[in-house]
Structure formats: C-alpha cells, structure tokens
C-alpha cells in the first residue's frame, strides 16, 4: 500500500512539477512571432526543397513576413502558392509557373560517344575529365545529374541517353538547371508560345556540327529568312527568338533542315 501511494505521489508530483515548469518557461521565454507567419508557412508546399534560396519553407515564411522575400518567392509552388501567400499578405501577385526545357536532342542515336568512358559516372566529373562523353562538346552528357537534383521526381534519363521532363510533375524550381554542367536546361514560363531551338551547339563550323550530331544546328540561317515577323536571329551560334513578337506560326519549325526548332507549347505539353 505504501509503495502504491509513493508511486502515485511521485508520478503525479513529477508530472505536475514538469508541466508547471514547461508552461512557466514557455511564458518567460516566449518569442514574439507574427501570426501571419504560421499562415504563410501553411500555404507553402512544405517540401523544403530550398529552391527559393532559404533554408526551408519555415525560413522562407519568416523572410516573407520580414519583407526579405517576395510573395512569389516560392519557386516550386508557382502561381497557386504565390496567390495564397499574396492573399495573406494583402497584396496581389502576377507570378507564372515555369517549367524546365532541355535544349539538346542529342540522343545516343543522333550523337555518338567520343569513346568508352569509365570514369566517375556523373555529368560534372565527365565534363571536367573529358569535356563531355559525346562527340558534341555542348550536348547532354546523360549521366543524370539533373535527375539526382530533382526533388519532385520530374526528370529522368531515358535509355536513349538524354533526360526527359515529366511536365505534370515539373514545378520549375530550377535545381536541375544549376546541376547541369553544360547549362542545357532552361526555365520557360508554362504559358509561353513560340519557337525554341533544341540545340546548344555554338560551334560556328558547319562541317564540325554535322560530324558531331545529326540534329545539331548547322547555322544555315533558314529560320531567319522564312520568319514572316523577323523575330528569330541566330546569335552566338544558335537561333534566339523574340517572344514578344513571335506568334507561333511554325514557319521556321517546318523550314529547319535538321529539326532543331520546335514550338515551346508542343515541347512542354503535359502528355
């Protein structure tokens, strides 16, 4: 009986003491925080991908409240999250979601390897060691550094040797863009229309490009000539489009002899 009472007394006493202490300490060491911060945090995706440049969703929420980050600071959440956050903060947001496009079509079939590569199997290592494993020094190396970087499981290297983006999953966070040593991935707004060059070979020697890759840009300038709006120019070796003018007529896409040009809306369509 005595043991029973002692057990009760000790456990109740300890629980009460600790409970009281916890409550007390919470009061004295209370940190003032904006109630909006919790709301903003709730609106964010919570994947802690870090694409915004802050340590995680908590840190971004705090920065938004402090005014250090814009309401559309969450790159991966896109327009939807930006709208929610803007609502909480009492402002309007015009953010558009972006998606990533691989500006290379150098599959193994079109662009042969230089030689057998037996080094460390990452794009970065292959770039440093032999300037890429394929004939084309500018093209996709294909070891999937982008696939490793993607927190959303949206980009995968297929057996054909280049990564393919799952546009239903891509949030435009841009982590793969930073991972690619050849700078082949580019973020484009999801609602963009117009032509895009799916080649990054900046070699100005036509014969060399033909030797390197079957579907590389050979700088024939046909796209410049056929464009009715004169909005496509070959700059630094690849066609660049002025999207303010381009009306997505598709003349250049049809004219391109090596099938380098495509319409963005076709590339980023969710299949």
């Amino acid at each position: 009986m005595k043991i029973l009472l002692a057990t009760l007394a000790v456990s109740l006493g300890l629980a009460a003491l600790l409970g009281f202490l916890l409550g007390f300490f919470k009061k004295i060491f209370h940190v003032e925080s904006d109630p909006c911060e919790a709301l903003v945090r709730e609106a964010l995706p919570g994947t802690n991908c870090g694409a915004c440049g802050f340590a995680g969703c908590d840190a971004l929420a705090a920065a938004v409240i402090r005014g250090d980050a814009p309401v559309d600071g969450c790159t991966s959440g896109g327009a939807e999250v930006a709208k929610k956050v803007a609502e909480i903060m009492g402002v309007t947001s015009e953010a558009v979601t972006r998606v990533v496009v691989l500006r290379c079509q150098g599959t193994l079939e079109h662009c042969k390897p230089k030689a057998d590569y037996i080094g460390v199997k990452t794009c970065k290592a292959a770039k440093i060691a032999v300037n890429g494993t394929k004939q084309c020094d500018f093209g996709c190396i294909g070891f999937g550094d982008c696939e490793v970087a993607c927190p959303f499981d949206a980009i995968h290297v297929a057996p054909d040797g280049i990564p393919h983006v799952d546009y239903a999953k891509c949030t435009g966070c841009g982590l793969c863009v930073a991972a690619c040593p050849n700078l082949l991935l580019e973020l484009v707004p999801r609602d963009r229309t117009g032509a895009i060059a799916l080649c990054s070979n900046r070699d100005t020697k036509k014969a060399q490009v033909i030797k390197d890759c079957k579907i590389g840009c050979i700088k024939c300038l046909k796209c410049e000539r056929v464009c009715p709006k004169e909005c496509i120019k070959v700059i630094n070796g690849i066609p660049v489009v002025d999207y303010d003018v381009c009306d997505s007529c598709g003349e250049c896409v049809r004219a391109c002899p090596t099938k380098v040009l495509a319409l963005v809306e076709d590339v980023i369509r969710i299949s």
Binding site: A15, L18, L21, L22, F25
Partner: protein, 192 residues
C-alpha cells in the same frame, strides 16, 4: 583522475554505443548522409546525453531509491529527459537563436533516443558516482559522435566509388557499418 580517463576511453572506444552495443542505430544510419549534418547531430547528442545524465542521476539516487521506486525509472527518466530538453529548447530559442537554428531540429529528434536512455540506465547499473556518471556520458556521446562522423566520411566517398549494382545504396552502407564495427572490436583489451 586515472579512473575517470579509463571510464571515458572505455565508454568511447571499447564499448562504443553504436558499433559495439548496437544502440542508436536509427540516427546512425539516418543522419550520416553528410559530414555537416552528422556534426550537428553529434553535438546535439553530446549536449542532451550529459544533460539527461546530470538530471536523472540525482532523481534516481535522491528520489526513487530512498522510496524503493526503482521500477519507475523508465517512466520517470523519459518524462524528465523529454521535458528538460523541451525547456532547454525554449531557452535557446529566446537567448541564442543562432544556436537554436543550428541545433534545434536535432534536439527534438533525440529527446528519448535509445542511446541516451541507455546511458542513464548504465550509470545506475554500474553504480557510478555523479562525476563518474558525467564523464561516462561524455564518453558515450563522443563515441556516438565519432562513429557518426566516420560513417558519414565513408558515405561521402561511397558516392563516387564504383559499387556493384546489387550492392548500391543500403546494402553497401550496412557492409561498411559492419566493417566499422569489426574495426572497433580491435579496441577490446586496450584498457586492463
């Protein structure tokens, strides 16, 4: 003094909590992905282990033992350690926000980790005095820190090693951890 050094070394190396006694394996595998992460975890473990021992030893010897309530120790220890870590968290959040943001996540994670709980039971089973208990706690936590850092180093090298496909990922990690444990077996008999 000599006795304390002996306790420290044997707790850290010979009876390494992870590699020789197989406690705290969850954070050992989970938090060893890179050296930076495991350093944060290791420091937090040292802190919490010492704190837990410093509190549970007096609670046991001053409260539970005189009242013949030794059987309550699991319950009471968990309660005391958990709320104490919570208190320290409040304190850090207020007075040292930088330290809190670097250690805060790990603190909550390890409140009643089995390795930490084991230390508090060990010092009682071994009948250590208060000072000896603290030294033992530091030793065990340093051992945990050491093995965590070692495994993290191995994992960073494994990332670029040509591992056979069937061993990739977890299997090679377990093999590495096993080899590490065998290596620590070599410390047996270091202290007579």
């Amino acid at each position: 003094m000599n006795e304390l050094v002996k306790i420290f070394l044997s707790a850290m190396l010979i009876e390494n909590i992870v590699l020789m006694r197989f406690l705290g394996l969850c954070p050992f595998i989970g938090m060893s992905t890179d050296i930076k992460k495991s350093t944060g975890m290791g420091v937090a473990v040292i802190f919490v282990t010492v704190l837990a021992t410093a509190v549970t030893w007096p609670v046991y010897n001053g409260l539970l033992k005189p009242l013949d309530l030794e059987f309550l120790q699991i319950l009471v220890f968990i309660l005391v350690i958990a709320s104490l870590v919570q208190l320290v968290e409040f304190y850090l959040k207020k007075s040292a926000p930088a330290l809190y943001s670097s250690m805060g996540v790990y603190l909550a994670l390890i409140t009643t980790n089995c390795a930490i709980l084991a230390v508090t039971f060990d010092v009682i089973i071994k009948g250590y005095s208060f000072i000896e208990s603290l030294v033992y706690a530091v030793g065990v936590a340093c051992g945990f820190f050491l093995s965590l850092i070692l495994l993290a180093g191995i994992r960073e090298r494994l990332k670029i090693a040509p591992v056979p496909a069937f061993l990739k990922g977890m299997p090679i990690l377990f093999v590495a951890a096993g080899l590490l444990a065998m290596a620590f077996g070599g410390f047996d008999g270091l202290i007579k």
